[in-house]
């Protein structure tokens, strides 16, 4: 029973190789709204199993979680498919929750951290269909020079990627800080290396979309003003909520 619980937690708070269940599952979910829901629910299910079964978690699981996070962050460097990229960064971020879980953090704190990461990935998940509808695929390197031809979509894409990679003032930044505040020095160094790899992967991903000269004969329509406003509002709400909540003390850790 304990092993089964551990395996279940390892799937929902992805631990390699169980994490492959998450990435394979996420990649094949067709609708953006469902992906957003899954992103929100996945780590929470893992935490629910962990806290409801009172499973005895081995100490090595925290280290394994960090290694899983580092593995997926490293693998993100050569990803061009945006959907897979989101699946990998989510796996990397959710795996970091093991650090707090093994260290005995309270359920509320961990749920807050999980929510912080999940919420930051949602906008990115919403951008995938926007790219697919216009470019045929959410795949970097196919059509460069988006800044000149599709400036609104490029702007939303940039902000979504920044939100996902724990840039202040998005919730993932505060969630990362909360994870760090409970970690030992060496673990904190490891977590920050993961953060560094996320940033590198983000720049490489955007390189396949933003700079360069537009190569197609035709330019698809840019985002409508309404969609741009909605996306912007979503991002501002996320950042604003994270800023206000964290500055008031609802930080998930400090």
């Amino acid at each position: 029973m304990a092993i089964l619980s551990l395996l279940a937690i390892g799937i929902f708070l992805p631990l390699f190789p169980l994490s492959m269940v998450w990435t394979a599952f996420f990649k094949y979910v067709p609708w953006a709204w469902l992906r957003a829901l899954i992103l929100l629910a996945w780590p929470q299910i893992g935490l629910t199993i962990a806290f409801s079964t009172h499973a005895q978690l081995p100490q090595w699981a925290a280290g394994w979680g960090l290694l899983t996070a580092a593995l997926y962050a490293l693998r993100m460097l050569t990803l061009r498919d945006f959907s897979t990229w989101i699946a990998f960064i989510a796996a990397s971020a959710f795996a970091l929750l093991w650090i707090g879980l093994v260290n005995g953090n309270s359920e509320a704190v961990l749920r807050f951290q999980g929510l912080g990461f999940s919420a930051s990935f949602i906008i990115a998940a919403a951008v995938v269909p926007m790219l697919k509808n216009r470019l045929g695929a959410a795949y970097g390197g196919l059509h460069c020079g988006m800044v000149q031809r599709l400036p609104r979509l490029a702007g939303v894409l940039v902000l979504a990627v920044l939100a996902a990679t724990a840039t202040p003032l998005f919730p993932s930044f505060f969630a990362l800080m909360a994870v760090l505040s409970e970690a030992s020095f060496m673990t904190a160094v490891g977590v920050l290396m993961v953060w560094l790899l996320w940033s590198w992967a983000a720049v490489r991903l955007l390189q396949g979309f933003l700079p360069g000269v537009w190569s197609r004969a035709q330019t698809p329509p840019d985002l409508s003003l309404r969609t741009t406003w909605l996306s912007g509002l979503g991002l501002v709400t996320l950042a604003g909520a994270a800023t206000v909540l964290s500055s008031m003390g609802f930080t998930g850790g400090w």
Partner: protein, 560 residues
């Protein structure tokens, strides 16, 4: 009451950026009017607040939220705010016409405003989280400013170099913040500094000495920001961004290293030995930056390496305990480097018609390398060269301090000043001039004026930034070594320098002017320097290896 305006100072550029972005479709290119007007207001407010502070208002901390979100109203904040808002305003005004034909005109001004706001947030941060937010966002916004020309893949590549180095520098800053938070249970900077002063021997939760560990981490973060050796490769390659961005970066952003060391001065005074490392890194950076600058045949890269050398000197000043002098240096460097960048376009334009170089004594000496046939007696000139600058620097220092004992840091800086002054006199002593003594007198007079101005202003900075004389002395003490070792070091260095100068004069007077074939070792050294010591190549190799590993892992694991 007035101190609360510091919130407005930070908020104004950020609000302007937001409004300009929201109204950009409606206002069109007129958003620049909004942007420049807000920049002017921000600068005026910064000057007003500084004047208020100079009027005697005490330091305070404005708390906006219970956990984080506080701003400091203190001398360092206000001084830096005037510099940043001033340079930002100049860059704004310059960009109105310079960027006029750019397709991303509006986006550029929005990003400029965000950058100004983020810089002001960083320098005014009253707690560690606010500081981390600002510190981190500077790198992000700079990345997008450097990549403003979105057609250029090269600009994107080099923008990435600066971004990843900045992010690397964020890592030690976050670690330092975490250590401080876990040691004292607060994010507030004044509270932390108070606790450090009360418990100077505190250990981190990992058993390391807190002050030394935190100071080391902060210094590392400063090194990344200020392009110190091994973390410098991004700086000379960031010239693909628009000229106003280069000006803003070289005049303001890259100076952040000296700011952050000054901000954490209360930690550094408790950290034994860390400032020695800071000095060493600064010294190596200054020397290597200058050597690389001299060997470049690309003027923009040469300017980049010139900034690196200046940053090395600035960090070195921190390393000898002259913290406020580093701030003065930061401002002076910001102004002259900003001017160089902003004027570069018009200088190039004018030079196409007329190089503007007068064919006078200086021209024939420097450009045509035609020294005078008549030479002054070399012993006399060497004596003047060595004695006059020493006298000038000694006099200047004596005028601003009532203490007969000079701090070690001040002696080292006087030392550098002395060598620079001697170099100046050496370079002119053989000029083809009808009135060589007049020339030497004028040079000595200029040197005296510069030195006196520099000394008085830096002393005023010292009094303004660190009014507590005891604290000032503690900063110098933290950077000091034992007196006996110091005097031996100074004695040996003085002897080496004097001997070197005498040899140089003698060689210049008697040596055969015929050029010699360079030696093989010299050519090897030149090859090494021209490839910029292969440091960027090593990083590129490491990067390619990691990317290769990533690709192999993905193939092996079938991309899931």
């Amino acid at each position: 009451m007035m101190d609360k305006f510091i919130v407005l100072l930070v908020a104004l550029p950020l609000l302007t950026a937001f409004v300009a972005q929201v109204l950009s479709d409606k206002l069109g290119r007129r958003v620049v009017i909004l942007s420049v007007a807000a920049g002017t207001l921000t600068f005026a407010l910064a000057v007003l607040l500084l004047a208020f502070k100079l009027g005697g208002h005490g330091a305070s901390r404005i708390v906006l939220a219970p956990v984080w979100g506080s701003l400091l109203f203190d001398p360092l904040t206000l001084l830096m705010a005037v510099v940043i808002s001033g340079i930002s305003l100049m860059v704004h005004v310059y960009s109105v016409r310079y960027m006029a034909e750019d397709p991303g005109y509006r986006r550029f001004f929005v990003l400029l405003d965000v950058m100004t706001g983020v810089l002001l947030l960083t320098i005014a941060a009253g707690d560690l989280i606010t500081l981390l937010v600002g510190w981190n966002l500077i790198g992000v916004v700079l990345f997008f400013l450097l990549n403003h020309n979105s057609r250029s893949l090269q600009a994107y590549r080099y923008g990435f170099w600066s971004f990843i180095t900045y992010r690397f520098g964020d890592v030690p800053m976050v670690l330092a913040a975490l250590l401080l938070y876990r040691a004292f249970g607060t994010w507030s900077l004044p509270d932390i500094f108070q606790q450090i002063a009360a418990h100077p021997g505190a250990l981190t939760v990992f058993g390391l000495p807190l002050s030394e560990t935190v100071a080391g981490l902060i210094a590392l973060s400063a090194f990344a920001r200020s392009a110190q050796f091994l973390l410098h490769t991004w700086l000379p390659y960031t010239m693909d961004g628009p000229t106003p961005v280069s000006a803003l970066m070289h005049a303001g952003i890259v100076n952040a290293g000296a700011f952050i060391i000054n901000r954490f001065a209360p930690v550094f005074v408790e950290a034994n030995g860390v400032l020695h490392w800071v000095f060493l890194v600064g010294l190596v950076t200054a020397v290597i930056g200058s050597v690389l600058m001299l060997s470049q045949n690309d003027i923009k890269k040469a300017l980049g390496y010139s900034t690196m050398g200046q940053m090395g000197f600035m960090v070195m000043e921190c390393g000898v305990g002259a913290f406020s002098l580093a701030v003065f240096h930061l401002i002076a460097h910001g102004l002259f480097k900003g001017t160089l960048f902003l004027a570069s376009g018009s200088v190039i334009g004018k030079a196409r018609h007329d190089d503007g170089v007068p064919k006078d004594d200086l021209y024939t000496f420097v450009i045509e390398r035609r020294p005078t046939a008549y030479r002054q007696p070399w012993i006399l000139m060497a004596a003047i060269t060595l004695a006059v600058p020493a006298l000038v620097f000694g006099l200047a220092h004596w005028l601003v301090t009532d203490s007969s004992v000079i701090e070690q840091g001040a002696i080292i800086l006087l030392f550098f000043g002395w060598v620079t002054g001697a170099q100046l006199l050496f370079s002119i002593h053989r000029m083809d001039s009808e009135t060589p003594w007049r020339l030497v007198t004028l040079a000595v007079f200029s040197l005296t004026l510069v030195v006196l101005g520099y000394t008085f202003i830096s002393h005023a900075f010292d009094l303004f930034l660190y009014p507590d004389a005891q604290f000032r002395a503690r900063i110098y003490a933290a950077a000091g070594i034992s007196q006996s070792e110091f005097y031996i070091l100074v004695g040996v260095l003085t002897a080496v320098i004097v001997f070197g100068w005498m040899l140089a004069y003698r060689a210049a007077s008697y040596h055969n002017e015929r050029p010699k074939q360079p030696k093989r070792s010299w050519l090897d050294f030149y090859a090494l320097v021209s490839r910029e010591l292969y440091i960027a190549d090593v990083y590129a190799l490491l990067g390619r290896w990691l990317i290769g590993l990533s690709a192999r892992l993905n193939l092996y694991l079938r991309w899931i």
